[in-house]
């Protein structure tokens, strides 16, 4: 037995269920054998420094194991991997720990949902967990933030943080920063007032709350007519990014409510459809940038803010790059929020362009109407919650794109707590009239370097690697690898189910793996 134990320690130097200290997450980019946080690192580049799998050998990539999800539902989880264990979520809000060598479960935690649990305007999904110390953190559909023991799945604490009865729910992965767990909520189609919270990782006590819609007397409150701010939405349902040097947290804010009829909420509707930079210690707003003022197309700005450095307008800057649901790509100075560059990356018919401050120059009469208004992109946007990737090697920003238009209809909505509050709808142009693409943009200019066209508008994120590859997945069930420099397809594998997840990479016994969810399963791949 001793020799087996010794061998095991050699294979996994830290042992199963090791501590995930905050310092390790801070340095996640230099620990590429693991995947410690939702987007790979606080910079959210979803880039892996692993380079065993390359453009030369990727054609030989083979499945190593498949884990079949036990709960029915859509699988949008991004697994985390640390020291031999993969932590993933299953719908609606369960957590499973797997042995990454075998794909065999080590433990599972499930929460029985109340029968009347509300998922208003979105499917009952979960996108993943956060790890810190010996604890796994997960948000639940019924509005709880739960801390689980990473060795057993036992509950350390369980806090109700949002009232599901009025439409709040948690679908996004929390983010662990220092000693805090940052968590946002869904509910943008239920007339919530959005917020982003920070909780003490040890006790579950709330450290701060940032309301995404300013209350009376606060700056920005004047951008809401009458009492519309009370039901103005602004959900925070996708995980944000963090700059530890500036101690700023960057988080995307969702659409205003009601979605398709803005008559009762005249004004820019801050901070909906914006990215906010918050002091991570206090939750106080440092700056904001609004991509789509007074949105009437449901173009949430929850897309991942990607942090990088680069020379723009004559000097080296700390940058924030993001491809927005509204079809424009933006480069901001992340110290100040200054708009630097904006360019269209997908078809859009609602703005003539962006002015020098990045505000859209609107094309008249593109709002939803009673008879229907044709506009691009569709309500699901030119991209959505699934992650982009940035490779510091190619300096390219890879965006999963949805090329689809829609007829937008304006309706009426009366706010009723716990009911949908949308006031209209869309009829999307489907099938052969729509398509998907992976587009590679020059990160500093937004100019298109290459495109790989796909059968249908995507619901899957991308991963870029130091092996010169971009991994992604399609609605029709293919996982694929593209040459990161040229977009040339080099490998694909039919999983049998739609891919609605973000790929990750890690090592098992020093051997690079790529894993992602597809259909009702998690697939792990490696070279033979």
């Amino acid at each position: 037995m001793r020799s087996v134990g010794l061998l095991f320690c050699l294979l996994a130097p830290c042992g199963l269920f090791a501590q995930v200290s905050y310092e390790r997450i801070l340095r996640a980019e230099s620990e590429s054998e693991n995947w410690l946080t939702y987007s790979g690192s606080f910079r959210s580049q979803r880039f892996s420094a692993l380079k065993q799998i390359t453009s030369e050998n990727v054609a030989k990539l083979r499945p190593v194991w498949v884990y079949q999800i036990k709960e029915p539902g859509l699988i949008e989880t991004t697994p985390l991997v640390v020291d031999g264990v993969m932590y993933l979520t299953e719908p609606p809000s369960s957590v499973t720990a797997l042995d990454i060598r075998s794909g065999r479960p080590l433990w599972k935690w499930s929460r029985t949902m109340p029968r009347d649990v509300r998922a208003l305007g979105f499917p009952p999904v979960n996108r993943g967990v956060a790890l810190l110390g010996e604890t796994v953190f997960v948000g639940t559909l019924d509005g709880h933030l739960v801390a689980l023991d990473s060795k057993s799945g036992a509950v350390r604490w369980d806090k109700v943080i949002a009232d599901n009865a009025v439409g709040y729910a948690i679908t996004g992965a929390p983010l662990a920063i220092n000693d805090k767990i940052i968590v946002g909520t869904s509910g943008g189609e239920a007339g919530i007032r959005g917020f982003l919270d920070a909780y003490d990782a040890k006790t579950g006590e709330r450290a701060w709350r940032f309301w995404t819609i300013p209350g009376p007397g606060e700056p920005g409150h004047e951008t809401w007519a009458g009492d519309s701010w009370k039901t103005g939405a602004g959900a925070t349902w996708v995980t944000g990014s963090y700059d530890p040097d500036l101690n700023l947290l960057y988080w995307g804010i969702g659409n205003p409510g009601p979605d398709w009829n803005g008559d009762a909420r005249a004004g820019d509707n801050l901070y909906t459809c914006s990215v906010v930079a918050l002091d991570a210690a206090t939750g106080k707003l440092k700056w904001h940038f609004q991509f789509t003022p007074h949105d009437t197309h449901d173009w949430d700005s929850n897309q991942i803010p990607v942090l990088l450095e680069g020379m723009v307008a004559g000097r080296q800057r700390k940058l924030l790059a993001t491809a927005n649901r509204n079809a424009f790509y933006y480069l901001l100075d992340r110290e100040t929020g200054e708009f630097l560059i904006g360019s269209q990356y997908a078809r859009q018919t609602w703005a003539k362009g962006l002015d020098k401050r990045g505000r859209p120059i609107l094309i008249p009469n593109m709002d939803p109407s009673i008879e229907g208004t044709l506009a691009y992109p569709s309500l699901q946007g030119a991209t959505n919650w699934f992650s982009p990737s940035y490779s510091p090697l190619t300096r390219l920003f890879y965006v999963p794109v949805r090329e689809m238009g829609a007829h937008y209809f304006k309706g009426e909505a009366k706010y009723v707590p716990g009911k949908e509050f949308m006031a209209g709808g869309e009829q999307a142009l489907l099938g052969d009239e729509a398509y998907g693409a992976i587009r590679a943009l020059d990160v500093l200019t937004g100019k298109l370097k290459w495109e790989f066209r796909l059968q249908s508008p995507l619901w899957s994120g991308v991963l870029s690697t130091a092996g010169g590859l971009v991994f992604g997945g399609t609605n029709e069930g293919s996982l694929f690898a593209l040459d990161a420099e040229t977009g040339k397809p080099l490998w694909d594998f039919q999983t049998g189910g739609p891919v609605r997840s973000n790929p990750i990479s890690f090592t098992v016994d020093g051997r690079q793996h790529v894993a992602t969810a597809a259909g009702f399963s998690i697939f792990a791949f490696a070279l033979p």
Binding site: P72, L74, R118, Q380, H407, Q427, A428, D432, T474, D492
Partner: protein
């Protein structure tokens, strides 16, 4: 390809076959399906209320007019998950496990029936009096038109084209006429919005040419069915040429085959096919 195969992109006429097979199995016990549906007693006010509820709560996924969005199109007479009205009520009330379809806990039963009634109205053509003679049309279908070479009615016929057993419930007379005179003008889509029976032509790297109906397609592969009902599977990177012939059809036009009166007869026959077996 078996009738129960349910590809995620395109299924041509096959989904109808599998849906009807499901209908048959559900009807066998003869319980709920035989009870009178509350939909039959609904008023136009119920229907209008159902429409408003649909637009507020269902349209985000199923599209404003029910033609589909992220959810499937519901403007068809046979819904795979809801072969009868009681099943449709249950789908709306309880949702569908393993899918994005949620339970409508927020609606009372009466409202659910109103929505169900509206959904049913999306897929039903009205039975109207037509000028032709169905019996004459049936004879033309079986003889001069040779329609059964490619189409199934009540289980009999060829399977290249769509099953016509319930075509009269799915399509109005105007659509049937344009299909007979100009088959390539079809705007029919499957529930994911893909053009049904799209004609595609491919040339392989070794020069082999195949022209046929798209069965299924994804980014990397293509499955076609040629005019002889042979199925082909291609990887797109093995193809030298790939083209879509939108506006084309493997079905011939009957403009010059039938007289105008015969066309009326055939339409009357097709319109009479409303799912009876």
């Amino acid at each position: 390809m078996s009738a129960s195969f349910k590809p995620d992109v395109f299924v041509g006429g096959r989904r109808v076959v599998s849906a009807l097979a499901l209908l048959a199995t559900i009807l066998l016990p003869g319980t709920a399906a035989l009870a009178e549906s509350p939909i039959s007693k609904q008023t136009s006010d119920d229907r209008a209320r159902g429409r408003r509820l649909f637009e507020g709560q269902c349209a985000r996924c199923h599209g404003m007019d029910g033609a589909g969005g992220t959810g499937p199109g519901l403007n068809r007479s046979v819904l795979g998950r809801a072969p009868d009205d009681q099943a449709l009520f249950s789908v709306i009330k309880e949702g569908i496990r393993s899918t994005e379809m949620p339970a409508a806990w927020q609606m009372i039963d009466r409202e659910i029936w109103q929505v169900a009634g509206y959904v049913r109205s999306l897929g039903r053509t009205a039975q109207v009096r037509l000028p032709g003679e169905p019996e004459l049309g049936k004879r033309l279908y079986e003889t001069k038109g040779q329609c059964a070479t490619c189409h199934i009615v009540r289980g009999r016929g060829g399977s290249l084209g769509p099953d016509l057993t319930e075509i009269g419930a799915r399509r109005g007379a105007g659509h049937l006429r344009s299909m007979l005179l100009n088959p390539g003008s079809s705007k029919a889509r499957d529930s994911s919005g893909y053009i049904s029976f799209l004609v595609m032509r491919v040339v392989t790297q070794d020069g082999r040419e195949v022209r046929g109906i798209r069965i299924n397609e994804d980014t990397f592969t293509l499955q076609l069915r040629d005019a002889d009902n042979r199925v082909y599977s291609f990887r797109k990177d093995d193809l030298k040429e790939l083209s879509r012939e939108s506006g084309a059809s493997l079905m011939p036009s009957y403009q010059t085959v039938f007289s105008p009166a015969e066309i009326d007869d055939l339409i009357a026959y097709l319109a009479s096919l409303r799912g009876e077996r």
